[in-house]
């Protein structure tokens, strides 16, 4: 199983699409590692710098609704994976992106808009989130405070995370 948790990168916008996460021109790469420098390269958020040290140090993304919409490219979870970001927390996900995350043994956690708002309220340069995978809980900590929230993920998605992804799960079962 992958390790989950660490410093948070807040992306304060809805409908962030997979073209923004990893532009199509990099889809000609045949290794995941080659994607690494291009994380969030075309993300359209005022003042966002994909090359800032904060992006490299992040281990968790917290964002708004419909994250990962658009293209089916699994290069989107992969570019996070090779940058050691194994958790994305959003108020909702596009279906294919969400499935791709669990298929890679990564975590796509959906929380209500209210709770996402509470996470954003603790936004600071040092905000971090720890994940208690066994008990479906996450704890967010920053200079502004510390809160713990429960989350729900489907049993099947949990099994995929434990199995290390869908290929191993399916190969053992079908």
């Amino acid at each position: 199983m992958k390790t989950f948790g660490g410093k948070v990168l807040f992306l304060d916008r809805a409908d962030i699409n997979t073209d923004e996460i990893i532009p199509a021109k990099y889809l000609t790469e045949n290794s995941k590692e080659a994607l690494k420098p291009h994380i969030l390269e075309d993300l359209k958020i005022e003042g966002f710098d994909p090359h800032a040290p904060a992006v490299k140090e992040s281990r968790v993304i917290v964002t708004r609704s419909n994250f990962g919409c658009g293209s089916s490219r699994e290069h989107a979870p992969w570019v996070f994976e090779v940058n050691d970001i194994n958790v994305v927390i959003a108020s909702s996900f596009a279906r294919i992106f969400r499935q791709n995350m669990f298929n890679c043994g990564m975590l796509a956690i959906e929380l209500s808009e209210k709770v996402i708002g509470e996470l954003f309220a603790l936004r600071a340069a040092d905000t971090s989130i720890s994940i208690d995978f066994a008990n479906d809980k996450l704890t967010v900590t920053s200079g502004k405070g510390c809160r713990t929230f429960s989350y729900q993920i489907a049993e099947f998605d949990k099994a995929l995370v434990k199995a290390g992804g869908w290929v191993d799960f399916a190969d053992a079962k079908y």
């Binding site: 490219r73 499935q99 489907a154 869908w166």
Partner: protein, 431 residues
């Protein structure tokens, strides 16, 4: 129990339910292209599992960057080509015979009512036009599909869209789907199937139905679907004539997939096209849609006609009807990519290729390239493209570029004017 088309397909294809709500379906067709498949192939090889569940159910095309533009794209094509050869995949479409995946696979008769279809491409929802459940997936799902012939989904709910009224001459399937996306919003159909019904759909060609279903994903939909009917039978007849004694028998068989009258929909939307104007997107999301009259006059640098949304013969005919005997504005670059070799040949036979060339359009080979900014029409920063494609995301057709999505008719008259224009104000010639 009354069921939707999608529920019937799920029921008949269910292989396993490993956990509540997680459905593992048997697949009828697994479609592959050179962008998302090579990493799946490499992973299967690395795992010592370089196998294909059924070579007759795997269909393969090189379409995104073709001819290859550099060493990397040539390598992707080679990985796919070598794999198709060593597994004796008969339906492999390489250069000279290749076309845009969601245009060429239906054209070859590979998609049938009631099928389950996946591909590592989000616009796989196109194939629901035949009454199939067809979904875009990532590379891992594709890899498992190739190896085991299964894929997992949550049971989707269905949103029904009724389209009725009298179609104005300048309005087409593209305008309808842009209006639907505006209504549903970019995530209004997440985890749902979008089912198109009503008089307008009942008399719409398969090409138009594919345009509709193609963009279901832009509202977050898993698959678009249309009910298979006489028009579906006519389209598929060259491929199914040996399976049925006549067309009526095929139709009767196809009808079993129709959504039952009392089935449960998550939501029902009614659209009347009678007074509809052609639709154009603004901004960077496909639900940011306006009537063409509101955006007419917006200057553009490039006009692109093609893609899995609007690169079929009807689309080319529609555009050519406005371009015939006219030349495009010297301020724009016009590019048209017929979606398949058969579309290209048909357009040539009908004089459509000549109309495009005489008007000043560049005619490219069939490829997806320009739509996602990979090749054959990439924008420079600050440039604007009027495009018949499916996504207007920031940088989609080139970093710093902007895209207005529209129908082939709007794209054609926009090319003539050099700025967004209303085809309702132009004379349409006979082709």
């Amino acid at each position: 129990m009354a069921m939707t088309l999608a529920e019937k397909v799920f029921k008949t294809h269910l292989r396993d339910e490993p956990f509540p709500g997680a459905k593992v379906l048997n697949l009828d067709v697994v479609l592959c292209h050179e962008i998302t498949t090579p990493i799946a192939i490499n992973d299967l090889v690395a795992r010592g599992k370089d196998r294909v569940f059924d070579a007759s159910k795997v269909k393969v095309v090189i379409d995104h960057v073709t001819p290859s533009k550099d060493t990397k794209t040539a390598t992707q094509a080679k990985i796919l080509r070598d794999w198709a050869r060593r597994h004796h995949i008969k339906d492999f479409f390489d250069i000279g015979r290749n076309g845009v995946c969601h245009a060429i696979f239906p054209e070859k008769g590979f998609i049938r009512p009631g099928y389950t279809v996946i591909m590592g491409d989000s616009h796989t929802c196109t194939h629901g036009a035949f009454g199939a459940f067809a979904a875009g997936v990532g590379t891992t799902d594709l890899e498992v599909g190739i190896l085991k012939g299964v894929c997992t989904f949550r049971q989707p709910e269905t949103i029904r869209v009724n389209v009725n009224g009298i179609m104005p001459e300048a309005v087409s399937a593209k305008d309808i789907i842009l209006k639907v996306i505006q209504t549903l919003t970019v995530n209004g159909a997440t985890d749902c199937v979008v089912e198109f019904q009503g008089d307008v759909i009942g008399s719409m060609s398969m090409e138009g139905r594919m345009t509709l279903c193609n963009m279901a994903i832009e509202a977050g939909g898993t698959s678009g679907v249309c009910m298979p009917d006489e028009i579906t039978v006519d389209y598929l007849w060259p491929f199914i004539s040996s399976d049925y004694k006549d067309k009526a028998a095929a139709l009767a068989d196809f009808r079993k997939w129709h959504s039952d009258e009392s089935c449960v929909y998550k939501k029902v939307i009614d659209i009347d096209v009678t007074d509809m104007e052609p639709q154009v997107t603004v901004g960077y999301k496909p639900d940011q849609v306006k009537d063409v009259s509101e955006v007419a006059g917006t200057p553009v640098d490039q006009v692109y006609i093609g893609s899995c949304t609007n690169g079929r013969i009807e689309d080319l005919r529609e555009a050519a009807a406005y371009l015939k005997g006219r030349t495009i504005s010297p301020s724009v670059r016009g590019i048209v990519s017929p979606a398949t070799p058969d579309v290209f040949k048909q357009a040539d036979a009908e004089g459509i290729i000549k109309i495009f060339m005489d008007s000043g359009f560049c005619v490219t080979n069939p490829t997806c390239g320009a739509c996602l900014g990979m090749s054959n029409g990439v924008l420079a920063p600050g440039e604007v493209c009027a495009s018949t494609t499916n996504r207007n995301f920031n940088g989609r057709m080139g970093k710093g570029g902007m895209v207005h999505l529209m129908s082939p008719a709007v794209a054609a008259v926009t090319a003539l004017e050099g700025k967004i224009a209303d085809p309702g104000k132009f004379r349409k010639e006979k082709i």
